[in-house]
């Protein structure tokens, strides 16, 4: 049996006295579309940043695609595609130049990188935009970021709010691409606050709160009595409350 795409045990990361990630256990099967949910400040982005090697963990066991982090950091990086929560792009390059850059950074030959960059820009309907990225809209940036995560044909995608700021047409296009990637055997690990998107795309979900996983399983296991994911999410977090009113508002 092949190892899971992501295996995390007792992962911890603190900032001063505040524990951002406090003993996370996580197992993401290969070929799954995995939703990683949680309220703001729950530890989602910190977890993703640890998994991508951007920040070190304080302690814990991390295995990605059967390789240990941080020991096999370089090999892991070659095999993952990343769409971060904030812009990771060089604003003074055009979308095409940036994609070529990323391709070559991942070891592709220049010709291959150029060819793939052109194809991806066509696919994501950006081929006619030759402005520098600094002049792109937020949605266009996200599309370029997605293209950059695809260019080296990774086995695992780590995506932090990939659809944030993307219009309905662009989001549909991106979702179709991701679903196609999963169909071809890739694993997708994404965070999103848009629960309808997660509900439609993901087959497995984990919810993190205060730095620890509070529940994990398939979508069906998480929902009870046909409730929506939003209802299940609020219930799991124990966050149901009446709207309070301010006298002056």
């Amino acid at each position: 049996m092949s190892s899971p795409a992501i295996l995390v045990r007792d992962l911890k990361k603190s900032y001063g006295s505040k524990a951002a990630v406090n003993g996370v256990d996580l197992e993401v099967p290969r070929g799954s579309f995995f939703g990683f949910l949680g309220p703001n400040g729950a530890g989602k982005s910190t977890t993703i940043r640890i998994l991508t090697g951007l920040i070190p963990a304080d302690s814990g066991y991390i295995e990605i695609l059967g390789l240990r982090l941080p020991e096999d950091e370089m090999e892991i990086k070659k095999r993952i595609g990343l769409v971060p929560d904030e812009s990771l792009m060089f604003e003074r390059l055009t979308g095409f130049e940036f994609l070529e850059f990323v391709g070559r950074m991942y070891g592709l030959a220049r010709d291959v990188a150029i060819q793939r960059a052109r194809g991806l820009l066509e696919l994501l309907e950006l081929a006619n935009d030759r402005k520098v990225i600094g002049e792109y809209s937020k949605g266009m940036r996200k599309r370029v970021a997605m293209a950059a995560s695809l260019i080296h044909h990774p086995e695992l995608f780590l995506m932090d709010e990939p659809f944030e700021g993307v219009d309905a047409v662009g989001a549909r296009l991106m979702k179709d691409i991701l679903v196609d990637q999963v169909r071809r055997g890739a694993t997708i690990f994404l965070t999103s606050h848009v629960l309808e998107v997660v509900e439609r795309l993901c087959d497995r979900i984990a919810i993190i709160n205060n730095g620890a996983i509070v529940t994990a399983g398939t979508l069906e296991e998480l929902r009870s009595n046909g409730e929506s994911l939003e209802d299940a999410f609020v219930r799991v977090l124990g966050a149901e409350r009446q709207l309070e009113r301010l006298d002056w508002l």
Binding site: M74, F96, F101, R104, M105, G107, V132
Partner: protein, 536 residues
């Protein structure tokens, strides 16, 4: 309103304040300690000088104060702190109050001159020859108004220059025009096409109607009221200038002014510049080649870099040309002999703030790609260093061409010597730059042409590092002078190169280790926004 802005600024500075506080304190003490010393020296001079000497020296002193306050921020490409209007314009803040804050922030580029003025004023108050303490109101009022005039004028000038420099193409033309204003008369004198001396300028800069002359006259008790009226009129004019330019800046959209015109979007076919960017791939292999290529593309499209690049050769010439005797082939002094090397080293130091001192600055939060990609961070640092060297050498070649055109004793040998000298100096600069880039990273806004490159505490340290970095090469020149031997120069320069290479290697190792260890802090620092006041 002002209190709220200042509080927000102080709170925004909390995070960075603790780290390096002692360091900032030491460099601050050195810099302002120097100016305090100058202030005391001026105090002693002013306190004991006779009335005749003061009548001659005070207007010139105030003129120098004016020039330093207004011109140095432009020449050093560092315009000081300013309000970040993108963050403030959403609030119903009266423009008048914002203008007051903006004017007060001009103290960030002229605090040294306030110290000097304080020393001079205290000296005059002590000097019985011009009235002493009894004449305090007569001495204090004009200097206070003169300082206010400088603040207001600096505010207007900053707004105007910043707006002009943020326009595509205009900034380059403006810098060349400024250069021409200074160099053309000099060239005319030297080539015999103009008058033989600058003596004619004397009466012009000492005319009674000028602010520094009027302020000096009033302080010395010469036609006090008339002089006071003149300086007050200048101050009102500066207030109008400052306020008008401030309002214009509020309505100005710098990002729109720098946007790529629709008819000038990069072509899909390789252009000349595209071929230039791809040159490193002929020598280096990926990932080094692609990183250098990316760096060159990004830098040449960054308004801030383009401005400093043009300033590198234009202001370099502007600053050093007055010290050189043009066209005279016989009696050549040290400056004429080494003119090209001096100007190139000046350009090297100026370019440092947009390249090697803070090499991740323009990448901002995108710096995480270097850590996320399957490459060693040392390769990124090397690529950035090589890209810096390429732009520095392009600058050197432009300067060599210009000095040849201006007939300042530059032959082929001098060009080669300069290339070697710049290479050796660069080893030291890049070594220090790599260390500073990982220890004091700071996000830079590419569109903000007035923003300095390094963090403010590091800018102070730069004043210490420059002499250190240039010392080995200076010693080589000293060896040539002392032994009157070119061989001594070459040997000393060779030793400096070996030492520089060793230092560069050690610094690269250290910077790589620090970057890997402190990657989290580096990402944080480069993603961090500023408060309502954008620092220089």
């Amino acid at each position: 309103m002002i209190a709220a802005i200042l509080r927000a600024q102080l709170l925004s500075m909390r995070l960075g304040a603790r780290r390096g506080a002692i360091f900032g304190l030491i460099t601050g003490l050195i810099w302002y300690g120097f100016w305090c010393g100058a202030s005391v020296a001026i105090y002693l001079l002013a306190a004991h000088a006779g009335a005749t000497v003061l009548r001659r020296a005070l207007p010139t002193g105030l003129l120098l104060l004016f020039v330093y306050w207004q011109v140095v921020p432009i020449v050093s490409a560092s315009f000081g702190s300013a309000l970040d209007m993108r963050k403030l314009l959403v609030y119903p803040a009266p423009h008048g109050k914002l203008f007051v804050v903006e004017v007060l922030l001009r103290l960030t580029t002229g605090a040294e001159m306030v110290l000097v003025a304080a020393g001079a004023t205290a000296g005059l108050l002590r000097n019985s020859a011009i009235g002493g303490w009894v004449a305090a109101p007569r001495i204090l009022a004009p200097i206070a108004i003169f300082l206010l005039f400088n603040l207001l004028f600096a505010s207007g000038l900053r707004s105007l220059v910043e707006r002009l420099l943020s326009r595509r193409r205009i900034r380059e033309i403006l810098v060349v025009l400024m250069l021409s204003v200074v160099t053309i008369p000099r060239v005319l004198f030297a080539t015999g096409a103009g008058p033989k001396s600058l003596d004619g300028l004397g009466p012009l800069i000492h005319a009674a109607a000028l602010p520094w002359v009027a302020a000096a006259g009033s302080m010395l008790g010469e036609s006090t009221w008339r002089a006071l009226l003149i300086i007050a009129a200048w101050t009102l004019a500066a207030a109008w200038f400052g306020r008008t330019q401030f309002e214009r800046n509020l309505r100005y959209d710098a990002v729109a002014a720098q946007a790529t015109p629709l008819d000038r979007v990069p072509s899909a076919r390789p252009t000349f510049s595209d071929r230039f960017y791809r040159l490193p791939a002929l020598i280096f292999r990926d990932p080094l080649a692609v990183l250098i290529e990316k760096e060159l593309r990004s830098l040449t499209r960054t308004p801030r870099f383009r401005m400093v690049f043009v300033m590198g050769f234009s202001f370099g010439l502007m600053v050093w040309l007055p010290f050189a005797r043009l066209g005279e082939t016989q009696r050549r002094g040290a400056i004429e002999q080494n003119f090209l090397a001096i100007v190139c080293v000046y350009a090297l130091t100026l370019l440092g703030q947009v390249t090697y001192w803070n090499c991740f600055g323009f990448d901002r939060s995108a710096v995480q790609i270097y850590f996320a990609a399957p490459q060693r961070i040392a390769v990124t640092l090397q690529a950035k260093n090589i890209a810096s060297m390429i732009v520095i050498y392009v600058e050197v070649l432009i300067l060599a061409g210009l000095t040849l055109a201006l007939r300042i004793g530059v032959g082929f040998g001098k060009v080669v010597e300069t290339l070697l000298v710049v290479a050796v100096c660069s080893l030291y600069m890049l070594a220090f730059g790599n260390i500073s880039s990982v220890h004091y990273p700071r996000a830079l806004t590419p569109e903000r042409v007035s923003q300095g490159g390094a963090s403010s505490r590091f800018q102070a340290l730069v004043f210490i590092l420059y002499p250190l970095a240039l010392l080995p090469v200076a010693l080589a020149y000293l060896a040539r002078y002392a032994f009157d031997s070119q061989t001594a120069f070459v040997v000393a320069l060779g030793l400096a190169a070996v030492l520089g290479g060793f230092l560069y290697w050690m610094a690269l190792e250290s910077a790589t280790e620090t970057a890997n260890k402190n990657r989290e802090r580096i990402l944080q620092d480069l993603s961090r926004g500023e408060g309502p006041v954008a620092s220089n």
